[in-house]
């Protein structure tokens, strides 16, 4: 009886989440893998769904990897982009949430709001904002600022001229800002749950902000940090939307701004036709890479040990 009631209660709590995971993750994943073996394109499921073309889509990707003259650069871009942005995201988010933690609430919430803007902006508007900001001529905000201050006497063509770090820094900056706000929200809400008594007690003992952060705050939100780290790693591998328009508009050099996911996006959906079969194959590969990377991260960071036994199970 007791066992039955426990099972009932457990399913009450877990069923919705499991259903949604099965329906919107596992099932689509199976469908994606299936579609990667079909020539499906232009969303024409009626026509292509029952056609089977074997591993053609994978072969196509393999062929491009091997023969495309820009592919090597795309790989380098991806590695640089993911690593640096990841660091910017996690540490930036942590820094801002810690810093705002120590200042009064009013200014902290305003500041946090500013850092939230990148996340809330529609992608096209966000790209437009930075397009003008980094534009490589006098019309660019950054260039005109530096010109006015007399730091430079000729506009810097950051996205196209300073190769490779110019385009890299722009895409890292733009994606980093979006990620920083993500980390910031997670960390801030986690920090707000730490009993203030702990902090006050430490402060009375003469602890500095730095040592409070290091000894009390960071350890208490460590799983949040880990979480943000892993999540960002995986999502950076698949993100392309914020870079796409900037390359399209000529702000960022295409060879040095294109990352793996953007490369796939452009090949599958670039223009004219929409090749969902190819996209599905790429998604399958990405899923595998993502799983392996995610798994490795969890292992390296000894994630399992951090999962505590639940309290209070009867």
């Amino acid at each position: 009886m007791k066992k039955y009631s426990n099972l009932f209660q457990l399913s009450f709590f877990l069923t919705p989440a499991l259903v949604i995971i099965i329906v919107f993750y596992l099932l689509p994943l199976v469908l994606t893998v299936y579609m990667s073996f079909t020539p499906i394109r232009n969303w024409n499921t009626e026509r292509y769904l029952s056609q089977f073309i074997g591993s053609y889509n994978y072969y196509r990707i393999y062929h491009m990897v091997k023969y495309d003259p820009i592919f090597r650069q795309v790989m380098i871009n991806t590695i640089i982009f993911v690593l640096i942005t990841l660091i910017v995201n996690v540490f930036g988010g942590l820094l801002i949430s810690l810093a705002t933690y120590f200042i009064n609430e009013k200014s902290s919430s305003t500041l946090r709001l500013v850092w939230l803007l990148p996340r809330m902006s529609p992608i096209a508007v966000y790209s437009l904002v930075w397009y003008y900001f980094f534009h490589g001529s006098e019309i660019g905000t950054l260039n005109s600022l530096l010109l006015k201050l007399g730091i430079i006497d000729k506009p810097i063509v950051l996205g196209q001229g300073v190769i490779p770090w110019g385009p890299w820094s722009i895409i890292v900056f733009i994606n980093g800002l979006v990620g920083v706000s993500f980390g910031m929200i997670v960390f801030s809400s986690a920090l707000s749950h730490i009993p203030r008594e702990l902090v006050i007690a430490a402060r009375v003992d003469g602890a500095t902000n730095w040592s409070i952060s290091r000894k009390i705050l960071i350890p208490m939100i460590r799983w949040h940090i880990l979480y943000v780290f892993t999540w960002q790693l995986l999502s950076l591998i698949t993100s392309y939307a914020h870079t796409f328009l900037l390359i399209e508009w000529g702000l960022v050099n295409r060879d040095y701004g294109t990352t793996l996911s953007l490369y796939v996006f452009l090949t599958a959906f670039g223009r004219g036709e929409q090749d969902q079969g190819l996209a599905a194959a790429a998604a399958t590969i990405l899923a595998i890479i993502g799983t392996v990377l995610g798994f490795l991260t969890l292992k390296i960071l000894k994630f399992e040990r951090m999962i505590a036994k639940p309290r209070g199970d009867i």
Binding site: L14, I103, V125, S144, R203
Partner: protein, 290 residues
Amino acid sequence: MLTDVEVRSKKTEVAITIAILMASIPLFLAFSLLVLSSFSKEMMTNLSLESFRFTIENWINVLQGKLAFTGGIRQNILKYTFNTALVALGVAGVVTLISALSGYALSRMNFRGRKFLLMFLLMLHAFPGVALIVGVYLLYRLSLPSSPSLVTTFSFMYVIVARAALEVPMATWLMKGFFDSIPWEIEWSAIVDGASRIRVWRKILLPLIKPGIAAILLFGFLAGWQDLIYVRTFLVEPTLATYIEANLEAEYSHMPLIAAAGTLYLLPTIIFFLTSQKLLLETHSGGIKG
């Protein structure tokens, strides 16, 4: 609410504020220029005041649903705003409900596969929406009602649940964190008194994690409000995001109008965020130590 205001030094506080301000300059600058441009006849980009020529025509046009000065076509922007809000609120509601349930189970109940489920949830983000969308679209096609009149309604429901699904793993993790921070003893006494877990969850725990719920609501709302790709692929009706996206054409769009539309798009979220901030930061008062 307890703060350590009395003991911390004013000077460092000012220093930190200034430091963050400095770091925020590009953001401040870029977004202020966007807002200013929405009141100008041309885009302000190079910090010269000459390019600022005041006008409110951009706003009048946008509020009338027009993204062009001469010509263009009037769209029902009120409806688009409503659509956007509907999706955002829907996503917020679904995510919060589901994660409040599963977060509790993962925090408080021990069952086989719990550790696996936790890890698995984390891994699910290995394939975010973009990668899965092809499969999600096929599912959409397979489940579409045959009567065309139902398609619009169905597309709303589908996009809400599908978009919410992307946030569920993270929200569940966060919710688990919030539940973890509530001392077990509070619940224990009620359970000993014979209350069911469901009842305890609803009556005792939910009120205690209000800030967490607010945070998740905010997350869900933002995710739904700013979503472009899912909305564009599944929703039959336009939202603000798709409307702006479809009308931003580098060659001939009047950019100050886009700036006004973009600012309008940001407004509700700013308001929502400002009002929920308090809730977000409100720490629960609790005497019992964990």
